[in-house]
């Protein structure tokens, strides 16, 4: 390929530069193309995707019941040791003993939001919440107990 001559080089260079300037000039004059989202201002209207993985939560119903049986499947499934389940023995009405959760401890600081615990859960007791603003001043606040105090296992969940 022949090298373009001196003046052609200048012409081609200037043309390519003007092409770029035309582009930036276009966006400078078309302000509707602006992509910025005003984050803390749009908090009220900000909708996260329904599958968004922000943190692990354990939904409770109106009767303060959850579906966690304390089977520890999530604890085994977690690659980082994020979940610790402390169980207790509950005595049922007919005198039988039954394993139930005492505390569902969730270390948010260790969690990588990989979703493996939710997939592993046989009773759909935990799911991913949409909260993503997790900054705290003290690391210990990131250790959360997911089951509400006094909550019980939903009837019929084994």
């Amino acid at each position: 390929m022949k090298e373009p001559g001196y003046f052609k080089t200048i012409y081609l260079s200037v043309r390519s530069l003007l092409k770029g300037m035309k582009m930036t000039g276009y966006y400078f004059t078309h302000l509707k193309e602006i992509q910025t989202e005003q984050y803390p201002d749009n908090r009220a209207t900000l909708v996260m995707a329904d599958r968004f993985r922000g943190e692990v939560i354990m939904p409770h119903n109106d009767l303060n019941e959850h579906s966690c049986t304390g089977c520890q499947a999530c604890e085994i499934a977690c690659p980082n040791g994020t979940i610790k389940i402390i169980t207790k023995q509950e005595i049922l009405a007919d005198g039988k003993k039954k394993k139930a959760i005492d505390q569902f401890v969730y270390h948010l600081d260790l969690c990588t939001m990989c979703n493996l615990c939710i997939v592993a859960c046989p009773t759909d007791a935990i799911k991913m919440g949409h909260e993503f603003e997790h900054s705290v001043f003290d690391k210990s606040q990131l250790k959360k107990i997911l089951n509400v105090k006094g909550s019980k296992v939903k009837a019929g969940v084994e």
């Binding site: 081609l12 092409k19 992509q35 995707a49 599958r51 968004f52 690659p79 979703n115 493996l116």
Partner: protein, 373 residues
């Protein structure tokens, strides 16, 4: 006199500068010791390991379901493809295949990841060469892809969507519509990319004939991906060792012959168009059916060794699992593309200017966690 209290020159009369670990254009914590003669680079010595997190050692203690998540953190721009490589290796060990639907989903997701990765690379290349504006145009399109990822996988960067046997859950109902919209806008915006950088005379001067890597060197250094394809090495794993149904897709392997920064750039630009092409072929014909093959709760691979290659946005990622029959791998080796590509840097940057070093680093598309693992 400053800089004079001690002898700043080395014994050979060279000027040693540390580029990195904190430097705007090393894309992370790469440390290059550079010996300069004036502005000309005489010798380069990469120092790695600032972000070594021993993912290989960690994987030895994780089950076959769990170790996949960590690979998202290696090459975080190709997180999907990394996960896919692990899932494919486990599937190979189990002797199963993903369901047809999962295979197509995997290809679409992998190509979306490649597009997003190349877009970020394009923006960073502009940034490294001193043009700040491309970065924002690149992010405009990348955000749209990330939105799709978030909708279907639940995360924007470290998706962990692949599991042995398929994908974690089915596609989001809006997936097809959104993907088509995004593809249409990306095709339109690729013209912007060309106007802003590709044809620009300053950009061409900065990249043409800079950092030439010969074909023999590219093979010898184990370079893969666009870095090697720009030198004329045919190394697209999607073509050579098709996995996950790439054999049924029409696309071209992009090859160039120059091996300089400009060719590497053009390879990636063409690859973006190929990825759009692949996605458009598949998006309307995703087969119905299960998204995941049934696997046992505890996966145990038989005794043996399993090696799986995939083509990430940067090149060939190999996952080498040695199993002793237990529930977690005995040894995992990730053959990361960036590690080999980086080793060719010192060859490419021989005798170039500092500005060229930045251009070379930009066009071999370094992702440091991928190199350090």
């Amino acid at each position: 006199m400053s800089l004079m209290g001690q002898d700043v020159l080395t014994e050979d009369g060279l000027f040693m500068v540390n580029i990195g670990p904190q430097h705007p254009s090393t894309h992370g914590v790469l440390h290059l010791k550079v010996w300069l003669d004036g502005e000309t680079i005489v010798k380069i010595q990469p120092h790695l390991g600032y972000i070594h997190r021993s993912i290989e050692k960690m994987s030895e203690n994780l089950s076959y379901r769990n170790f996949i998540f960590a690979t998202s953190r290696m090459d975080y721009l190709s997180a999907h493809i990394n996960n896919e490589a692990c899932a494919l290796t486990v599937e190979k060990g189990l002797g199963i295949q993903a369901t047809p639907r999962a295979k197509v989903i995997r290809i679409i997701m992998a190509e979306l990841t490649r597009l997003a990765s190349h877009q970020l690379w394009w923006g960073c290349t502009g940034l490294d060469l001193g043009a700040v504006t491309p970065f924002f145009y690149a992010f405009r399109d990348r955000e749209a892809i990330n939105g799709i990822m978030e909708e279907t996988c639940g995360a924007r960067l470290t998706m962990n969507y692949m599991v042995p046997g398929g994908v974690m859950y089915d596609l989001h109902p809006n997936f097809q519509k959104h993907t088509k919209d995004v593809m249409a806008s990306i095709k339109k915006n690729l013209a912007d990319y060309d106007n802003l950088l590709t044809g620009n005379v300053i950009f061409e001067m900065r990249t043409k004939g800079v950092g030439v890597l010969s074909k023999e060197d590219a093979i010898s250094f184990g370079c893969t991906g666009p870095t090697a394809r720009a030198s004329g090495v045919s190394c697209d794993i999607r073509k050579l060792f098709p996995y996950s149904g790439y054999e049924n897709v029409q696309f071209d392997e992009i090859l160039a012959t120059g091996g300089d920064c400009y060719d590497r750039y053009m390879c990636r630009m063409a690859e973006m168009r190929q990825s759009v092409n692949i996605i458009e072929q598949l998006i309307d014909t995703i087969p119905e059916g299960d998204f995941q093959e049934k696997t046992k709760a505890v996966i145990k691979l038989p005794k043996g060794e399993f090696y799986q290659r995939v083509e990430t946005a940067r090149g060939e990622l190999g996952v080498y699992i040695v199993s002793d029959g237990a529930a977690s791998p005995y040894r995992v080796k990730y053959r990361s593309p960036g590690f080999s590509n980086l080793s060719a840097l010192s060859q490419m940057a021989q005798g170039v200017k500092i500005g060229d070093l930045v251009a070379i680093m930009a066009t071999i598309d370094l992702v440091i966690p991928d190199i350090d693992r």
